[in-house]
């Protein structure tokens, strides 16, 4: 929802008639002098048009009065507007243009409409002045646009209610705009309707003196590729990056996969090939949780990171918080990805789609739940077919596939809106990845067997209890089975993760909102397996993982981490926002209590156009040790939660109506990181002696989607360091990437053709060079004699992806096709250093995909 703090020109129009006002300000009729017996009635303004406040003048905080001479014909139309007293600075032209569009009830002599000429003073006043005058009314300005862009919708029906009282029933103008001025503060229900679009209702609460500028997007009835675009409301976090579904589905190189598109945002590192890791701001993998409707998605990407486990078509939007996020989230040292299923369509019809590409095929069906009034559903399923071509590729004399790589996922949600105030959504999801390969040529036994299977259900309930209070409740339960076996090294984790969340938001005052909530995680789990013996953090190469007795895992327990939080959202002035909160977490497994205070602030240096906002944040973030570390440490002193002290400072600058620039610096201190080193008894133990620091800056230059184009350039400069053993010098973190540059854009060429490109440049990944080899007769292989830890880098990564989309629209359905040309110039990006058998020779080796034309077809109705 967009609530602009932009100061619009305070237009105070005043009709000045010679009859009523003295001095030079008068209205003069061009008609013959009236006879004394006939009453002359001056023209009356019936439609006022707001003038555009000159930007330069607004920046200089200038105000002015422009006196105009208006000639009005018998129809009340202004036929000529002349500036009588020029004041320059753009005021004259703005006033002249606005007044030319005025509409009058014509002047009358008796019963006859006559031409008239009047003087009119158009006053430009800055909003600040109005605030100082303690204005107690509010203004509501609406821009009705086609969702996913900026195309205005003229003639949209706009109904504004306050309670049961109809405040306004009007239509949007030619620019899709509508304005209500001088209305009482409070809660309003706004309903929009337009031919060919889904109706849309939104609630808005206005504070005294507030000028709320909302941009509301209507979804085309026949379209599924657009999304309701809410303007940016001042966030609870320092930085929230939101990608609309249209952008998500068109980002080149991702095959339209929403969650893969996150990897193009600032602060997100390029993961190693086929790893599917999500690395944010130099933090470790698995410190940035992904939630979908509150359900924690343990493995967000299918096998090798080829695809995410939730289809784009079911998502509303994805909010990505790279750091300094609200106390609403916890158990994370890095960032947070919070995605939500979209609300189902309410048009009473069935919709569906089918899509197939190089990797997988999927179907989706949406519509009313049969026999249940008011309930709608979306169901989807997807299955990969890489097993058809990858299996034969891998089969050979010494390698054979026991279970071809395959994944599938499925989702079903049903929702119901009890009223405008309350809404419920329930459903289930599941995803499954399996792969089994035996390579007889592996020195230590070559069986690779992976299973990742999750099935879960979730419920979301939202209720606007009053115009001041709002309640959000979510509950999810997911059973997950993770299995990985490489030869005799294997582990199985079976868990039932239950997450309950609740948040009550209450507006204490117009400028103060309190939020309190709970966040419970209960996860019975069973960890079994056999891991290679851990040699300790930063240990030399120990060779084959199977030539030591290893460590058996067998632990059955439950993870219980209840948390509660409170957050105060203060707006001390119309320009400032301060969000302070505190979160309390208890971890049963470790017996630790963690208290995390956090503070974020935003201040509009310039609230008019172009808007400039300063932002900052600071706070503590905790994450409990992992299940395996906990399981292997169960007989010893409990580990503490890992901690991150995150700080950030940035600025957002609006450059035009479409272009925004965001620059942000961050500095995170990490401590209590789980490490493993030799204790005083000469034995390896888990401990919390790891430390680290991460600092850098992020730049995002973004062109907001319009009817044809969207795109952004993101750049991250960062450095991430760790120290695992006290006293040892710090070193660069394994996944540290100094420069991460992504430039992408998508342009609609016309005739339903869309062309998109993405270019990425990333500093090469770190590696520890081998200065020689040491022969292990037990493993009959050489071990790398390590050089300085993480002291060298692979050559930089760069890649161009190109995407072409074509869409054919028919009466009741549409067809689409896309070609995602991945790695268009077939760059061989090194992903690792390959050594010969005794580490006496080496060369960079690429495990990334070569040039691949991924063709997709899609039909929907």
């Amino acid at each position: 929802m967009k609530r602009s703090l932009l100061r619009r020109g305070q237009c105070v129009g005043l009709l000045l008639f010679g009859f009523s006002l003295s001095g030079p300000v008068r209205a003069e009729s061009l008609t013959p002098p009236p006879s004394a017996s006939v009453e002359v009635v001056p023209p009356e303004l019936t439609q006022f048009v707001e003038a555009h406040y000159p930007e330069a003048a607004e920046q200089q905080r200038l105000e002015a009065d422009v006196v105009l001479s208006l000639e009005i014909d018998e129809n009340g139309t202004v036929t000529r507007a002349t500036v009588v007293e020029p004041v320059a600075n753009g005021f004259d032209e703005a006033a002249q243009a606005a007044a030319s569009a005025f509409q009058f009830r014509p002047a009358r002599r008796g019963d006859r409409a006559i031409k008239s000429k009047i003087l009119y003073r158009y006053s430009f006043r800055l909003r600040a002045a109005a605030v100082e005058e303690k204005v107690t009314t509010a203004t509501l300005s609406l821009s009705v646009v086609v969702a996913g862009g900026k195309v205005p919708i003229a003639g949209a029906k706009v109904r504004v209610r306050r309670g049961s009282r109809l405040i306004a029933d009007a239509v949007s103008d030619a620019n899709g705009r509508f304005q209500l001025r001088d209305i009482e503060p409070g809660r309003y229900d706004i309903t929009l309707e337009a031919d060919g679009f889904e109706p849309y209702t939104v609630e808005e609460t206005l504070s005294p003196a507030e000028e709320a500028a909302l941009t509301l997007g209507l979804v085309e009835k026949s379209s599924d590729t657009t999304v309701i675009v809410h303007g940016e409301r001042p966030t609870r976090e320092v930085t929230r990056r939101t990608i609309t579904r249209r952008e998500l589905s068109l980002v080149p190189g991702t095959s339209g996969d929403a969650l893969r598109a996150i990897q193009n945002l600032p602060g997100v590192a390029r993961p190693p090939a086929l790893s599917g890791l999500l690395v944010v701001r130099g933090s470790a993998d698995r410190t940035t949780p992904v939630f979908v409707d509150g359900m924690w998605i343990a493995n967000v990407y299918h096998f090798g990171g080829l695809s995410s486990v939730i289809p784009t078509e079911m998502l509303d939007e994805i909010n990505f918080y790279p750091g300094n996020f609200s106390v609403r989230y916890g158990r994370a040292l890095g960032g947070v990805v919070d995605a939500h299923f979209r609300e189902t369509r309410q048009d009473g019809r069935y919709h569906g789609l089918a899509q197939v590409d190089l990797i997988d095929a999927r179907v989706l069906l949406e519509g009313p739940v049969p026999g249940v009034s008011g309930w709608n559903f979306i169901g989807a399923a997807r299955r990969s077919h890489v097993d058809a071509w990858l299996g034969p590729l891998l089969n050979g004399r010494d390698t054979y596939i026991s279970a071809a790589p395959v994944y599938y996922d499925y989702q079903f949600i049903a929702d119901h809106r009890f009223s405008e105030r309350s809404y419920i959504r329930a459903g289930f999801i599941g995803y499954d990845d399996r792969f089994k390969l035996i390579s007889k040529g592996a020195a230590f036994g070559g069986q690779l067997d992976t299973v990742s299977a999750t099935v879960g259900l979730g419920i979301v309930y939202q209720n606007r209890l009053s115009n001041k209070a709002k309640l959000d409740l979510t509950f999810s339960a997911a059973r997950s089975h993770q299995h990985l076996q490489i030869s005799s090294v294997a582990f199985d984790i079976v868990s039932l993760g239950m997450i309950g969340r609740g948040e009550l938001e209450y507006r204490l005052q117009p400028r103060a909102t309190l939020r309190v909530g709970y966040d419970l995680l209960l996860a019975p789990y069973d960890v079994t397996g056999r891991l290679p013996e851990d040699a300790g953090s930063n240990a030399p190469d120990v060779g084959s993982p199977v030539t030591t007795p290893g460590q058996k895992l067998d632990r059955n327990a439950f993870f219980f981490v209840p948390a509660a939080y409170a957050e105060m959202d203060m707006r001390p002035t119309s320009r400032a926002q301060v969000v302070s909160g505190v979160r309390y977490d208890y971890t049963r497994e470790t017996g630790r209590h963690d208290i995390a205070p956090r503070l974020t602030a935003r201040y509009d240096l310039h609230s008019g156009f172009p808007k400039t906002t300063l932002k900052a944040g600071s706070g503590l973030f905790f994450q409990a040790p992992g299940l395996i570390e906990t399981a292997l440490n169960n007989d010893h002193s409990p580990l503490r939660s890992q901690r991150s002290f995150q700080n950030s400072l940035g600025v957002e600058q609006q450059l035009s109506s479409q272009v925004k620039l965001s620059v942000e610096g961050f500095f995170n201190l990490l401590d209590n990181l789980v490490s493993r080193s030799v204790d005083t008894h000469g034995e390896l133990r888990y401990n919390n002696e790891g430390k680290g620091r991460i600092f850098g800056s992020e730049v995002l230059l973004r062109y907001e989607p319009d009817e044809r184009f969207f795109g952004w350039v993101s750049y991250t400069l960062s450095r991430s360091e760790r120290t695992w053993v006290p006293g040892e010098p710090s070193h660069l973190f394994d996944l540290d990437q100094t420069h991460i540059l992504t430039a992408l854009g998508s342009y609609e060429l016309g005739k339903n053709w869309t062309l998109g490109m993405r270019f990425r440049y990333v500093t090469g990944n770190l590696f520890t060079p081998c200065s020689g080899g040491l022969f292990s007769s037990t493993g009959t292989s050489y071990l790398c004699v390590n050089g300085p830890l993480n002291s060298e880098r692979l050559p930089p990564f760069h890649q161009l992806d190109i995407r072409v989309d074509k869409r054919w629209k028919f009466k009741d359905f549409s067809l689409g096709a896309y070609l995602d040309l991945i790695n268009a110039y077939n760059r061989k990006n090194p992903d690792l250093i390959q050594y010969n058998y005794d580490f006496s020779a080496s060369k960079p080796q690429s495990a990334s995909l070569p040039i691949i034309p991924s063709l997709g077809l899609r039909g929907e109705f």
Binding site: K440, G446, V678, Q834
Partner: protein, 362 residues
């Protein structure tokens, strides 16, 4: 999961992918089965696991396959060997926990290592022969750390070796590696990896369990058992020739052994010969306190020509014994004369067996 563990397991999966021949993971390095330098092939412990108070004998098998600079000098090069030991249950239980001790040992060696007087040196600390004895301490188990997750209580002993086609020099100043150097005796210039191999072997002592080395019953060449037979000329090898039944010819090698005789071959369509180690399936013992048998694999080496696979799995812990564990030998394109083929069989707990035979390529 700990980050490092997660990443390393994923990368291990990637490595296995590469091993499986996934496109993009091409490997044009020289195969490890190619013997063209000084190489250590195996260290066979006997017995293959320790017990408190016993002595295990380690036998090192090495091959010096590097062609001498002067082709006329066909005499084998002088190879120096040094063993360093005495390291039991080091910190972290890993081999690198022994390095401080090795530095102390090196400080007591003569600068020219092989000149070190071994008289009075306790057994198990130093030797200069292919054999080395590890006396397992009586308290190896009682002094061993017990870590959560250990499938069995165990102690571990390490022995380190250096094999040098030159002169071994003590380097006690090297604290994080085996403190020995290999140099040219004339110039003092360091030898490279082709002339100098360092390594280690581990001997585990399990509480209540033993390990046996794999049982190698024999070697077969193109499905014909290799029989040791002395000869003066090709005619003396009739018995092996009869056994071969035309699968290959047989000749008498310069070392007077009846050996398979194959022609050199270049290009596609050359014949390939299956080299098959006859491994007793009982070699794969059950792992202590685990529902799996140990991994057994075989390595193949040749001084000329190539092998189809350098390594073949003999027993997989999950799927069991793999009968098809031979590797195909491809003769060289030139008449190499006597080509030595080596097969070593290993289990994951340090047990080893070694076999070899010659093939005549002419």
């Amino acid at each position: 999961m700990k980050h490092g563990t997660a990443v390393s397991l994923r990368l291990a999966a990637l490595v296995i992918f590469c091993a499986g021949g996934l496109a993009g993971c091409d490997n044009d390095f020289e195969a490890p089965s190619q013997l063209d330098s000084l190489r250590v092939l195996a260290v066979r412990p006997e017995p293959a696991s320790g017990r408190p108070g016993i002595t295990s004998k380690l036998t090192l098998t090495f091959v010096d396959a590097r062609e001498p600079p002067d082709q006329a000098a066909l005499q084998p090069r002088e190879i120096q060997i040094a063993w360093l030991g005495g390291c039991h249950n080091p910190p972290t239980r890993q081999y690198f926990g022994c390095f401080p001790l090795l530095s102390q040992l090196a400080a007591r060696l003569s600068p020219r290592v092989v000149e070190t007087q071994t008289v009075g040196v306790p057994p198990g600390f130093f030797a200069t022969t292919t054999d080395f004895e590890i006396p397992v301490p009586n308290d190896i188990l009682t002094k061993a750390a017990s870590m959560p997750g250990d499938p069995v209580h165990f102690g571990v002993s390490y022995a380190f070796f250096a094999v040098c086609a030159g002169e071994l020099r003590a380097r006690p100043d090297l604290e994080n590696r085996i403190p020995l150097d290999c140099v040219d005796p004339a110039t003092g210039a360091p030898r490279d990896h082709r002339d100098f191999v360092t390594g280690y072997t581990s001997l585990y002592t399990y509480d209540g369990f033993d390990n046996e080395s794999p049982i190698l019953d024999g070697l077969r060449f193109n499905d014909v058992a290799i029989q040791p037979a002395q000869c003066e000329n090709d005619g003396d090898c009739a018995s092996l020739r009869d056994a071969a039944s035309g699968a290959f010819d047989v000749g008498c090698s310069p070392s007077h052994k009846c050996s398979p005789l194959v022609p050199p071959c270049a290009g596609k369509g050359c014949p390939e010969y299956l080299v098959y180690p006859e491994v007793d399936p009982s070699s794969a013992e059950a792992l202590p306190n685990e529902a799996a048998t140990e991994i057994v694999w075989s390595n193949y080496y040749t001084t000329a020509g190539s092998f189809d696979a350098d390594t073949e799995l003999v027993n997989d812990p999950a799927s069991g014994f793999i009968a098809d564990h031979g590797s195909y030998f491809h003769p060289p394109a030139y008449a190499a004369g006597t080509v030595s083929l080596w097969v070593t069989v290993h289990d994951q707990r340090g047990g080893a067996a070694v076999g070899s035979f010659d093939v005549l390529v002419r």
